[in-house]
Amino acid sequence: MKLLRMKPGHGEIVLAEGDVAVPEQELELIEAFRRELDAGMWAAVPTAAPGGRREAELVKSFAEVPRDAERVIFFPRAAGGAPAAQL
């Protein structure tokens, strides 16, 4: 499993990589996962449904990440863009 993070001026960077079946590596993945969530990031797991449909799943803890997921992508949390129009 790879933990990736989108970064301005760079594209994605690999935060951590490991096999969830290996306890030490899983621990590293969990720590990196928590760090990103604590920094206010959103985490998404891209998924492929039967029939070729692609979607993503937002996860709030490492336990929610499917064990067979190849990657988790972190990105800054959404914020409303332009302020609401003055009435």
């Binding site: 970064k7 301005p8 449909r53 979607e55 993503a56 937002l58 990105f75 332009a82």
Partner: protein, 205 residues
């Protein structure tokens, strides 16, 4: 004598100051304006066009690896992505009653799938406050991917975070209509290509 000279000197200095003060104030204001204009015009500190281009290439690869081939081709050829809405009666998919267009660093535009009528703009951004290279702005394709992931994963939450406006606040409605027409042509052409070469275009033996 000394006192009189001293007093005259003080009066002279005050008079000169009063005369020069308006000019001095104007000059200072002009310098301040020029400095701000210069600051606004210059790119953010540490801006490197080559690095930004490489970042965009990485972002495009990531986007390509996440969406399906049809959506990737749509983004590559047209510059935007369409995502079917999932909150209507028909659920997400081609039967959905509405859809969104995702443009890089522009609001999501919702429209009725059947008529093309524009519904709303959802203004949303993903600013990285750590500003690693002086900017909080993700590469274009990362911005599109972030919107795509958030929309397909939790449309209600993303729409809830966004500022909603009537169509036309930031994205020109004529442009969106043109893009919808382009999308329709593009999909028809693609269907034709996928169906294989037309019989009448096969050269006679």
């Amino acid at each position: 004598m000394g006192l009189a000279l001293g007093t005259a000197a003080v009066v002279l200095v005050v008079l000169l100051w009063e005369l020069a003060r308006p000019t001095l104030k104007r000059t200072l204001a002009r310098i301040r304006l020029l400095w701000w204009a210069h600051r606004r015009a210059s790119p953010p500190a540490g801006y490197d066009p080559g690095r930004e281009r490489r970042a965009e290439q990485r972002a495009r690869s990531l986007l390509r690896s996440c969406v399906n081939e049809h959506d990737w081709a749509m983004y590559r050829d047209l510059g935007f992505l369409r995502v079917w809405g999932g909150l209507g009666d028909h659920g997400r998919g081609e039967d959905a009653s509405y859809a969104y267009l995702i443009y890089p660093h522009k609001p999501l535009v919702a429209y009725v799938s059947e008529s093309g009528e524009l519904l709303n703009e959802y203004c949303v951004a993903f600013p990285d406050q750590s500003k690693p290279y002086g900017s909080s702005r993700l590469p274009d394709s990362d911005d599109v991917l972030a919107k795509w992931m958030a929309l397909t994963a939790d449309e209600r939450r993303l729409v809830g975070e966004a500022n909603m406006h009537l169509p036309g606040r930031q994205v020109d409605p004529d442009r969106v209509r043109r893009d919808l027409a382009r999308l329709e042509c593009w999909e028809q052409e693609r269907l034709r290509q996928l169906a294989g070469p037309r019989r009448d275009s096969v050269p006679a033996a």
